[in-house]
Amino acid sequence: MKWILIVFSFALTVTIIACGGDTQTDERTTDARDMGVEQREPDPRGIGEVTNVDLTDPLNEDMIRRGRQISDVKCASCHLYDTEERLVGPGYLNVTNRRSPEWIMNMITNVDVMLDEDPVAQKMLEECLVRMPDQNVSLEEARELLEFMRYNDEKHAGERDGGVL
């Protein structure tokens, strides 16, 4: 019982810190003031430059290879590939079935705005409590990451692209 209380109060504290909107927050937010203030209709495409992604079929082997290279260096510290389970961020598994390709690419390339304004991203931040780093991934590289995620879902979940709008 005591444990539950301790864990609960810790989680609560961390949540308050992360969402407090005070400039003293420990996150290096670029614009913490806006967090949770603006309520907007969730756009399943997320917020950012990417409004439409043309998916190719079959998958592009070169893009998968490059996407995996980028992921291994810049992403794999926090995301496991073969599971939905959270390491620091959620696992890759089924991400292309849960989210639209536009949302995924916006999340990768427009991290701070997404974390500050996109309701789905914000909800995930409340769970994960570490802001996803902006790893300075270009749009082209983000597309390659997406291709790797599609490949990953096909391999480990048996289906992909379920999130396509």
Binding site: A18, K74, S77, L129, R131, P133, D134, N136
Partner: protein, 655 residues
Amino acid sequence: MTKSLMFIGCAIFFMIALYSCRPPAPGAAATVDAASRVYVPPGEHDEFYNIVSGGFNGQISVVGLPSGRTFKIIPVFSVNPENGYGFSEETKPMLNTTHGFIPWDDLHHIAISTTDGVHDARWAFANANNTPRVARLDLTTFNTVEILEIPNSAGNHSSPFITENTEYVVAGTRFSVPFGEEEEDVDVPIETYKENFRGAITFISVDPDDGEMDIAFQIDAPPFNYDLARGGKGISGDWFFFSCYNTEMAHTLLEVNASQHDKDYIMAINWRKAEQYVREGRAETVRAQYAHNKMDKATHMASSEIKEDVLMLDPTEFEDIIYFIPCPKSPHGVDVSHDGKYIVGSGKLAALIPVFSFEKMIEAIENEDFEGDINGLPILNYESVLHGEVERPGLGPLHTEFDGRGNAFTTMFVSSEVVMWDIETLEIIDRAPTYYSVGHLMIPGGCTAEPHGKYLVAYNKITKDRFLPTGPELAHSAQLFDISNGRLELLLDFPTIGEPHYAEAFPAELIKDKQVRFYDINENQHPYVTRGPGQARVERETEDRVRVYMTSIRSHFRPDNIEGIFVGDTVYFHVTNLEQEWDLPHGFAMKGANNAEILIMPGETLTLKWIPDRVGIWPFYCTDFCSALHQEMSGYVRVSPRGADVPLTYSTGGR
């Protein structure tokens, strides 16, 4: 009605007149209006970068003007536990010398690179006064990237001043000493000073593309003390001017014995000619060891190479390299006006400021208007070279800068003031007290061909009562004056780091958009880089040497559980920061490590060496608050007795 208005008007006029005639009270206050003129509103930026020497802390401060706020301390000649400079394996070679590793020096002067005499602010140069060296800093990373030791020198004070296109950085020795290839050349009685001591003046070439320095040549000058220097500009661009004191060539009780002559000298060197003679092969190659330390951009690692010889030019073999201009008395600063026409000597014991004319100097040389010679090197006739003297400027003139509008500003150490005077008429225009005992002064661009004559900063040696007292040692004070209205108007006092000597400032626009925000992880060529968590590992390289290939990202290290380390192992933690976002360094600290933390920039790899001295479980952690789960960013190393049956294992999150 009109009458009463006129009366009120007159009364106000008289009050203002009375007020402005009042002599400044001690500690004269800047007005409230002054506050708004140095106020930089939250979120806005200062107008100028001010690169300030730290003196005996061996570092450089980066300050904003007009606010006086300090943004960064850059370690140059001194170790810096804050970021591991001089402690990490990558940076240790930067502080190597022919005497071995030296963790400290005394950094006096700054030179910001110029093109056509105008700041381009690609690099900052700095001198080590104690163990002679010159450093180069990259102003896109604000890191020290190169340090060159100066052989045959024994106190690199007259340095690191530059020619107008940054062709050369000079290094004149403050202490002349004997030098030579054999022990018997240098193991001589001190009293043989005049016969055996020599004053090396070093010209360091700077690669115009990447800034790399090398000793181009040295000039074997008379055994004086070389104090400060300035390159010419425009018409005088081929010349370099060095102030000389102790032309008495005393070797004991210099306070008295080096103050005998009414006039010492400014040594004028035609560096173009010297360069030409070196190119013609007329310099002698002499053995002289010196360290050349460079930071490699791609590997993030410094290397140190000991070089073996220099080219030495004997100026007495040539008629047209060196001329001496007599200058009263023990000149300290020597400064060249923005148009290159005037050379101002500051005889620190003189009651006047001599201003020399470059054109008259050339005329005197052509007319062989000499009043003597030193070892055959001509001494020009004082009166023939003189433009004029600023009379009764104050006591103890030290340094002069220019506003580009025909005015010069000279610091007076003894009478503790800055004096503003007209270069043409030599008349004093204004003077302002400083608190206290001002040394150098600085106008943004004030030593270049294009001064920004808006502000002047006085760097004071004594602080006394200007700030909240902090025991016996006080922060040195700087004072910011507005000089844009043709007079000296005090705006602000601010504390500084270490002991600032010289400083320079330039418009922030020159570099603020060129700043490196992070290092591309894919371009990291460090030999022990860990490019992604999949490569994180621990390897026992030899019986007692272990390398940990570790990654850091918000907010964990990988691996974070390590076992199979033995007492006495040399463990290298090669930590690669996988972040690719501006302003996201991670720190790494290991309990019991006999050095400092390392602070790893995004995309960088740095190495902490640790030799565990006892059995146990040893935590390590991130020292730079990185996220809400920063306190969780940690790990453990299990250290066992040497030879224990504990296999080398490592993991993160059980994987």
